[in-house]
Subunit: 216 residues, 2 copies
């Protein structure tokens, strides 16, 4: 295996800690602090920070420090705007590339009773489903953009905690609607189902957010 460069190592670790909210939104960091935490010099840290800044996960305040980007309702609005733009588009235009076996697998998985699944399982399943759909788009620029908002979405999820179980049940149902349309190769229907799913998801997410005092 190729030895991983320190700058990549630092980049991945810092990113992970931001996404997992170990570094909470709004926290002030410093190169020195990170240097000690990872036992490397400032150089690879700086490299990592430069990239993270461009991804919007941090803001470098010249001569003052490094701020972990905060989360806001406006941010979440932008996330859903992009998901509503990209995901129905993916289903509509690249649905034909979905693998039939994979679709059937998902069909089974979303039929499992919720009690069999931990919250972690549910989110992981949800993620894999949406990832499969976005992976069908070959356009690397779209992928890159989606990856940015996906990171932010993960941070929101950590901050807001879990959905209600009613919402989880409905989510599975909406996913099944999308899959059923895909199996029938009804891409217009599948795309519409996706749009509906995202709108429902958006509503319930905002309900959750409005009860999360730290995010306004």
């Amino acid at each position: 295996m190729q030895k991983e460069s320190l700058k990549l190592y630092a980049y991945n670790l810092i990113k992970e800690k931001i996404i997992s909210c170990e570094y909470m939104p709004g926290t002030l960091l410093s190169e020195e602090l990170l240097r000690e935490e990872f036992n490397v010099s400032r150089t690879p840290i700086r490299d990592a920070l430069s990239r993270l800044e461009q991804e919007g996960l941090i803001t470098i305040l010249p001569k003052r420090g490094i701020m972990v980007s905060s989360l806001s309702l406006g941010e979440m609005n932008m996330i859903f705007e992009i998901r509503l733009l990209f995901e129905p588009y993916a289903v509509m235009n690249y649905g034909y590339t979905f693998d039939g076996t994979t679709l059937l697998d998902f069909y089974q998985l979303f039929h499992q009773p919720l009690e069999n699944l931990s919250n972690q399982d549910i989110y992981s399943l949800d993620d894999r489903f949406h990832a499969m759909i976005m992976d069908s788009i070959p356009n690397t620029y779209i992928k890159q953009c989606y990856s940015l908002i996906h990171n932010q979405n993960l941070r929101f999820r950590v901050m807001t905690g879990n959905c209600t179980s009613e919402r989880l049940i409905r989510t599975h149902g909406e996913h099944l609607d999308i899959i059923k349309a895909c199996l029938k190769k009804d891409w217009v229907g599948a795309s519409d189902a996706m749009r509906k799913h995202l709108l429902e998801s958006k509503n319930s997410t905002f309900e959750l957010l409005l009860n999360t005092p730290k995010i306004k």
Copy 2:
């Protein structure tokens, strides 16, 4: 005025030279070469390169050098896919925020006879028109993504040279169609006109590209 940091200085200059194709697609650069050219140390250069790599304008080949990203037909396909996704969306959803005076100004400008304008003027006008439309989208992630493909588009334009004057005339006409629909606040019509314009533009661009041997 705030003194510009060297890393920003280096970033802007290198970026400009890549976009203007002074550094041609596929060229191999090195930190040392750039260091000499700008009379700064490697540190700000490295910072700039790290950001440019993430923007996709260069690829850092570890221990070998820095390659200016090449251009390909696939790249151009991705550019138009995104423009076709974003620009009609902008007109449809944010057209209502367009400034009426600005629209009328554009209306006048696109009525000028072509002979009054240099190629530079024409491209600048075209750019400003599309920029106005994209600026109406408040979503910063969409803006960022669009900016990436816009940079690539500029590089293509430099490499392929100018359109035919028939195409330029038709371009102005298509722009006028969009503007007229906007003035009538017919956002569906304007969005359709935009889509048609981009498809026409795509066709003529690909004709041009197929006659540009360096890009395949």
